[in-house]
C-alpha cells in the first residue's frame, strides 16, 4: 500500500471512529438523562394544571407571562423574591465575562444584550482569542523547562532511569499533582463557599471550565448573598487562567511521552520535536534518533509547519 493511500485510510479510520464515539456518547446521555426529563415534564404539566385550576388567569395569559420571565431568565435577570439582583455587568462581572470570552470558555450565564455589545464581543474575541493562545503558549513554553525538562533530567541523571521509564514516572507524578491541586482542592473550596454545590459539582465545574467547554450550569460567585463577590470573581479568573496553562502543560508533556513511547509515529501524528521550538537536553538525543526515522512518510500530509497551534 502506498504511503498516500495508507494515510488516506488512516484518516478515514480516525474520522469513522470519531463519529462512532459521538454516537456512543449520544446514546449514553440519552439513556441517562431522558427518564429524568420525562419525570420532570409530567410533574410540571400537572403542576401547571393545578395552578390553572385554582387561579383566575387563563392559559394564554399564563403563557405570555411565562415567555416573558423565561426570556429575562435567559439574560440572568430575575424578578423572583424582589430580585436583590446584583448586576451582571458591574466591573468585576464584566471582567469575568471578558475573561471567559478570550479563553473561549464562554459560560453564557451572562451574555451581551445590546447589538453594540455583541459586535464588540466579536471584535474583542477575534483579537483576544489568538492573543490568549499566544500568551498561554509562551508561558507553557517557559514552564516546561521548570516542570518537565528539569525533573526529567534529575530522574535520568541522578536516579539513573531509562528515558522511557523516566517520562512515564514523571508524567504520572505530574498528573497526580495537577489533579490534586487544580481539581480536588478547588472543588473542596467551591463546594464550601457555594452552599448548594456538592464536592462532585465542584469537581465537575473545575473540569468543564479548565477544558474550556464552559457549559455554564455551574458558575461560581452567582449566589444572591455572596460576600466579597468581586474578590471572589477575580480569584476564580486567576484560577481559570493558571489552570488553563497547567492543562496545556500536561497536554504537551503527554505529547512528549507518547512520542518517546513511539505512539505518535504509530498513528502518523506530528512528533513532539517538530512542534517544540526548543530542543531538549542532549541526553534525549539518542532516544530521539530512532523515533525520528519512523516519522518521515513521504507524503504531503506529513508537513509539520502548519499544525502546531497548541490546541
Amino acid at each position: 500500500m502506498s504511503p498516500l493511500i495508507r494515510t488516506c485510510v488512516l484518516v478515514a479510520g480516525i474520522v469513522i471512529f470519531y463519529i462512532a464515539y459521538l454516537l456512543l456518547g449520544a446514546l449514553v446521555f440519552s439513556y441517562i438523562e431522558g427518564p429524568v426529563e420525562e419525570t420532570l415534564r409530567t410533574d410540571l404539566t400537572s403542576l401547571k394544571q393545578q395552578f390553572l385550576n385554582q387561579s383566575c388567569i387563563n392559559a394564554s395569559q399564563l403563557d405570555v407571562f411565562l415567555e416573558r420571565v423565561l426570556k429575562a431568565n435567559k439574560y440572568g435577570v430575575s424578578v423572583l423574591r424582589n430580585g436583590s439582583g446584583h448586576s451582571n455587568w458591574d466591573l468585576a462581572s464584566s471582567l469575568f465575562f471578558a475573561n471567559t470570552l478570550v479563553t473561549t470558555v464562554g459560560y453564557g450565564h451572562t451574555t451581551p444584550l445590546s447589538d453594540v455589545g455583541k459586535a464588540f464581543s466579536i471584535i474583542y474575541a477575534l483579537l483576544g482569542v489568538p492573543f490568549t493562545m499566544m500568551v498561554l503558549a509562551a508561558c507553557v513554553h517557559r514552564l516546561m523547562h521548570v516542570l518537565t525538562y528539569g525533573p526529567l533530567k534529575v530522574l535520568q541523571d541522578h536516579a539513573g532511569l531509562q528515558p522511557r521509564l523516566a517520562s512515564t514516572v514523571h508524567f504520572g507524578l505530574l498528573l497526580i499533582l495537577v489533579v490534586l491541586s487544580f481539581f480536588a482542592v478547588p472543588a473542596l473550596v467551591f463546594s464550601t463557599i457555594e452552599g448548594n454545590w456538592s464536592f462532585l459539582d465542584g469537581f465537575y465545574f473545575c473540569f468543564i471550565s479548565l477544558c474550556t467547554i464552559g457549559l455554564g450550569d455551574f458558575v461560581p460567585a452567582e449566589q444572591p448573598r455572596q460576600e466579597y463577590r468581586a474578590l471572589y470573581k477575580i480569584a476564580v479568573m486567576v484560577y481559570l487562567f493558571v489552570g488553563l496553562m497547567v492543562m496545556f502543560l500536561v497536554l504537551r508533556t503527554f505529547h512528549r511521552l507518547a512520542d518517546v513511547h513511539g505512539l505518535t509515529a504509530f498513528f502518523h501524528l506530528p512528533s513532539y520535536d517538530d512542534l517544540a521550538e526548543d530542543r531538549e537536553p542532549i541526553v534525549e538525543k539518542a532516544e530521539k534518533e530512532d523515533t525520528r526515522e519512523t516519522t518521515k512518510p513521504l507524503d504531503p500530509s506529513s508537513q509539520v509547519s502548519y499544525n502546531s497551534f497548541g490546541r
Binding site: 484518516v11 454516537l23 383566575c56 394564554s60 435577570v77 492573543f131 517557559r142 467547554i213
Partner: protein
C-alpha cells in the same frame, strides 16, 4: 539559565495581556450595565401590574410559577399550551450535546442534571477532546494538502508560481467562507427567525468554540425543524472548525514565511537559496513522489 533570561519578555507579555482583559471588562461594563437596569425596572413594573390585575394571585404563587418556568427552561420544556416538544435529551440533541462537549463549544443550554450524567460527561470529555483535536488537525491538514496539490497542478500548466498561489489561496478562502459562514447565516435566519446580526453573532460564537448558549440552533421547542437540520448543523460545526484550524495554520504559515523573509533581509542576501522556504519548495517535490 535560559528560563531566567527570558523572564522580562514574558512579564511584558503578561502585563499587556492583563491590560487587554481589563480594558475589555471596562468596555463591557459601560456598554451593558445600563441596559440591565432598564430591563430589571421594566420587569418589576410588569410584575406588580400583573399582581394588581389578577386579584386571586398572591406574590407567593407568582414566585412559584417563576421557579416552575426556571426548571422547565433548564430542561428545554415548553409550557405553551399545545406544544408537543420532545425535550432536550432525545437522540439527535444528545448527539449535538456530545459534539458540543467534545469540541469544547459547550453551549450549556442543556447540561447533565443527574450525577451519573455529570460523571460520564467528565470521562467522555477526557477522551473526546484530544480525539477531536487530532481529527480536526488531520482533516485540516488534508484540506491544505489538497489545495497545495491543486496549486501545483495549475502552476505546472501556467508556469506562474506566485500569482497562482495567491489566486488559489484566495479562491479556497472565499469558497469556504461562503460555505461555513455566509450559507449558515442565511439558513439560520430562515429556520430560527433570527436577525442577520444575531445569526452572524451565533456563527462566530460557535466556530470560535466560545459557545455562550444564548443563541443555539435547533433548540427552540416552539419551532418546527426539518429532519436534515440537526445533521447539517453538526456537519457545519465539524467542518467549520476544521476550516478554522486550517485558516489558523495558514496564518502561521504566512507568519513564518514573513519571519523568514525578514531574517533574510537582515542577514543580507547570503542565503537566498532553498534554506529560506523549506516547506514551499519541498511540497511540490514530495507531491511528485
Amino acid at each position: 539559565m535560559q528560563f531566567v533570561s527570558r523572564l522580562p519578555s514574558i512579564l511584558l507579555l503578561g502585563v499587556v495581556y492583563v491590560a487587554f482583559v481589563l480594558a475589555g471588562g471596562a468596555v463591557f461594563w459601560r456598554l451593558e450595565g445600563g441596559l440591565v437596569e432598564q430591563n430589571l425596572v421594566r420587569l418589576r413594573e410588569e410584575k406588580s401590574r400583573l399582581l394588581q390585575r389578577l386579584s386571586c394571585l398572591d406574590i407567593q404563587s407568582l414566585e412559584e410559577v417563576g421557579q416552575l418556568i426556571r426548571s422547565a427552561s433548564k430542561y428545554g420544556l415548553s409550557l405553551k399550551s399545545n406544544s408537543t416538544s420532545d425535550g432536550f435529551w432525545k437522540f439527535t440533541s444528545s448527539s449535538i450535546f456530545a459534539a458540543t462537549v467534545v469540541t469544547t463549544i459547550g453551549y450549556g443550554n442543556i447540561s447533565p442534571g443527574t450525577m451519573y450524567g455529570q460523571i460520564f460527561c467528565v470521562f467522555f470529555a477526557l477522551v473526546g477532546i484530544p480525539l477531536n483535536v487530532v481529527v480536526l488537525n488531520k482533516v485540516g491538514k488534508y484540506m491544505l494538502s489538497i489545495e497545495r496539490k491543486f496549486c501545483h497542478f495549475i502552476e505546472q500548466k501556467t508556469n506562474r508560481k506566485k500569482c497562482v498561489r495567491v489566486f488559489i489561496h484566495s479562491l479556497s478562502f472565499a469558497t469556504l467562507a461562503v460555505l461555513y459562514f455566509v450559507a449558515p447565516v442565511m439558513i439560520f435566519q430562515q429556520y430560527e427567525g433570527w436577525s442577520y446580526a444575531e445569526a452572524v453573532y451565533y456563527c462566530f460564537i460557535t466556530l470560535s468554540t466560545i459557545g455562550f448558549g444564548d443563541y443555539v440552533a435547533d433548540n427552540d421547542p416552539d419551532r418546527y425543524y426539518p429532519e436534515w437540520y440537526a445533521f447539517i448543523m453538526g456537519a457545519w460545526i465539524f467542518f467549520g472548525l476544521a476550516w478554522l484550524a486550517l485558516l489558523i495554520n495558514h496564518c502561521i504559515d504566512l507568519l513564518e514565511g514573513f519571519n523568514g523573509y525578514l531574517k533574510e533581509k537582515r542577514e543580507g542576501t547570503a542565503s537566498m537559496s532553498q534554506g529560506s522556504q523549506p516547506d514551499e519548495t519541498q511540497a511540490p517535490e514530495k507531491s511528485i513522489k
